[in-house]
């Protein structure tokens, strides 16, 4: 009995540093942010002088702040493009690299370069490529040189194309992660399954549809969750590309939270926005998880 208590205590002592670090750097700040969401506070006055306003911040977010909902829609739009375009490209490239092709290691390295670059660097580089004034404007020049001058456009400063341009650059920046995870997933599929299918007369499309896709479903769901979480929170790339929110056309939730904190000195409101946004992400992830579980069972 005595030995049991001693052993339990020892175990607790071993995990204590991790618990303390987790509490200090995660749990306490989370609780603080949650509480601040109910206060009007400018981030300068002492916390004891902050004014308790109940649910007023949340009420404002949900019913009186159209710029927040525009930012949410913009983030959703970029996410939808990332979920489709980015992940399809990543999957197809991973599938190609999983086969016996020449220089496949070279391609693996090349495809993984964009994700390891800083978002700001990517934003500035693409700004140089597609912007209208300060850069070489390579895209427009290319369009002219291939005989499509009618497509020349102010890609980043036209409200009709700015968000889509941001989304496309985001996909270019992000597809490498999906590529890497998809490739790892594809390599875990037993080759015997393909060989058996081939013996049974299955062509490439049948193998892809009946072996690759079902076997890859958990990986696809994982990549989808990571894409949603990563894309909804993207903002540095937008600063690098557009310099800001372009009259709201490229605003995203994190930029709105920053605007509340820095521009308006409304830390309480920014915390409430952060909580609301976090809850949305949790709900989306939960739905995706349930969906994947349901699909796997089916």
């Amino acid at each position: 009995m005595k030995t049991d208590i001693k052993s339990t205590l020892e175990n607790y002592i071993f995990v204590l540093p991790a618990v303390v670090i987790f509490s200090v750097f995660y749990i306490i700040p989370f609780i603080a942010v949650f509480m601040l969401g109910f206060y009007e506070w400018d981030g300068i006055l002492a916390l004891k002088d902050a004014m308790f306003i109940g649910l007023a911040n949340f009420k404002e977010i949900f019913f009186q702040d159209p710029s927040w909902w525009q930012a949410m829609w913009n983030a959703t739009y970029i996410t939808l493009i990332a979920l489709t375009l980015q992940n399809i490209v990543a999957f197809l490239l991973a599938w190609a690299c999983d086969r016996e092709i020449r220089c496949k290691n070279f391609y693996r390295v090349v495809f993984f370069i964009p994700p390891v670059l800083s978002e700001m660097v990517v934003g500035m580089a693409w700004r140089f490529i597609i912007n209208d004034v300060d850069g070489a404007n390579l895209v427009n020049r290319m369009l002219i040189s291939i005989g499509l001058p009618q497509l020349v456009h102010s890609w980043l400063s036209d409200p009709k194309t700015a968000l889509t341009t941001v989304a496309v650059v985001h996909c270019w920046k992000g597809f490498g992660w999906g590529f890497l995870i998809f490739l790892a997933g594809l390599q875990t599929i037993p080759r015997e399954l393909y060989e058996a299918a081939r013996v049974d007369g299955a062509n490439a499309w049948h193998s892809f549809k009946n072996i690759t896709i079902p076997m890859m479903l958990p990986v696809i769901v994982l990549v989808a969750i990571l894409t949603v979480l990563g894309t909804m929170q993207a903002f540095v790339l937008i600063i690098g590309l557009v310099g800001g929110e372009l009259a709201g056309h490229t605003s995203v939730p994190v930029l709105r939270i920053l605007a509340s904190m820095r521009g308006s000195s409304r830390f309480g409101y920014a915390c409430a926005q952060g909580i609301s946004f976090g809850m949305v992400l949790v709900i989306i992830s939960f739905i995706q998880y349930r969906f994947s579980k349901h699909t796997r069972q089916a």
Binding site: D42, I44, L45, Q64, V133, L246, A247
Partner: protein
């Protein structure tokens, strides 16, 4: 086992005392936080001179960019571990909050000592930015809470060579708004960029819009609007917004100006790619670094109306405050007095090409800087108005102007949207 225990104890002792601060030797060391990358070298030189003179060491600690600096100062304020001297970036409301939280020392007694010797060194408008009047709306005890180290004005600049290239006289820049619009057509035909500015950062849009608001309706009406007595849907405000539409339609605005950060605008102007720039006096140093042969001059934003005088933003460029909780506050005040003295100000002006806050040093500045300085007579700044607009209203207004430039909204729509946000904020304040 015994050896292990001894080793553990020794390690513990080593850790405890190894991290302890070194014994003070009685020598005062002042710590100063700032964000001014371009002045780092000059500050180091001044710190060296001050230490030689007084034995007091001053550590200038740079935290850039300015956004990161702002967050650092706010975090330090929460932890009450601000340095002896620091600067504040932000609106007057934020400045007031720092004072109310007890972070900033009231410099009034020091400024007024000896019949105001220190106070009288400064341009009145530079000091006004750091001053809270008895009737201020921030609930701050009246007084002077900061020492300006330089001043600035934000005006328009024109490239003499490009103006000549357009067939215009470089000695006669546009004086009226219509003249500016007329140049827009020529700019379009010549396929060069017209006016560049960091309008992707929003606050510079606000600055030019305010200039024209003062010009069209006068200071009283602008302040009445901020107090909520005049609506943003008033025809005069719509006139202000329409100016931006006219600028866009005329072709005077550079392509992509709404996504342009000021650094890009500075590069374009410095490299002879844009005819006009809207920028602050700090640009002189920036342009010198980018293109020492740039041939340019300063002008006021062309008048849109004869009803009222054109006004520009200006006043204290950067200021330093003394931490009210610092144990070295007396030494900190003495250092600021020395830093704002004529010789040090002249050195800073020469080394960094910024306008000195000390009015005795203006004789030693370049021609372009002197033009910027001459604008101080008509300079104003939201910090000296005594009332502040709600930040969300300013944001809606500035984004609205961006929307007008990209032809997304009409001036009337922007005015109505701004007024709606204003009414919402006023209603909240009443509650």
């Amino acid at each position: 086992m015994f050896v292990n225990r001894i080793l553990c104890i020794l390690l513990l002792i080593f850790n405890m005392f190894g991290c302890a601060p070194r014994e003070e030797t009685g020598k005062v060391t002042l710590t100063l936080w700032h964000w001014m990358t371009d002045r780092e070298q000059a500050f180091s030189e001044l710190a060296k001179r001050y230490e030689e003179k007084t034995g007091v060491k001053v550590n200038f600690e740079l935290f850039a960019p300015s956004d990161a600096y702002t967050q650092k100062v706010r975090a330090a304020a929460q932890g009450t571990n601000l340095p002896d001297i620091f600067g504040i970036l932000g609106e007057k409301r934020d400045f007031g909050s720092f004072i109310k939280a007890g972070h900033i020392l009231d410099l009034t007694p020091y400024m007024e000592e000896g019949e105001g010797t220190w106070k009288n060194k400064f341009f009145a408008k530079a000091l006004a930015v750091n001053e809270f009047s008895p009737e201020n709306s921030y609930g701050v005890k009246p007084g002077i809470y900061g020492a300006p180290i330089d001043i600035m004005t934000i005006q328009m600049l024109y490239n003499k060579n490009l103006l000549k290239q357009l067939g215009l006289d470089p000695r006669k820049p546009p004086l009226t708004f219509q003249e500016l619009l007329d140049i827009g057509k020529k700019v379009k035909e010549a396929k060069i960029q017209g006016l560049v500015s960091g309008w992707g950062e929003l606050w510079m849009i606000d600055c030019l819009a305010n200039n024209y608001a003062f010009n069209i309706m006068g200071k009283d009406k602008v302040l009445a609007t901020i107090r909520g007595e005049v609506a943003y849907t008033d025809p005069d405000w719509i006139k202000v917004l329409t100016l931006f539409k006219q600028m866009q339609d005329s072709g005077i605005l550079a392509t992509g100006v709404v996504t342009m950060v000021n650094k890009t605008a500075e590069q374009l102007f410095a490299n002879d790619k844009a005819v006009f720039a809207f920028n602050g006096s700090w640009c002189v140093n920036v342009y010198r670094g980018m293109n020492p042969n740039l041939d340019y001059a300063v002008m006021l934003p062309p008048q849109a109306s004869d009803e009222h005088l054109m006004s520009i933003w200006g006043g204290a460029g950067s200021s330093f405050m003394v931490n009210a909780r610092s144990k070295n506050k007396e030494e900190a005040v003495k250092f600021l007095e020395w830093l704002t003295d004529r010789d040090q100000q002249a050195y800073l002006a020469e080394a960094t090409q910024n306008l000195p806050a000390n009015k005795d040093c203006l004789g030693k500045i370049s021609e372009v800087l002197a033009h910027f300085a001459s604008g101080m007579d008509i300079a104003t700044h939201p910090s000296v108005w005594g009332v502040s607009e709600f930040p969300v209203v300013i944001e809606t207004w500035n984004k609205g102007i961006q929307a007008i430039i990209i032809k997304d909204k009409s001036p009337e729509q922007v005015a109505a949207e701004t007024q709606k946000v204003k009414e919402r904020e006023l209603a909240k304040r009443k509650k």
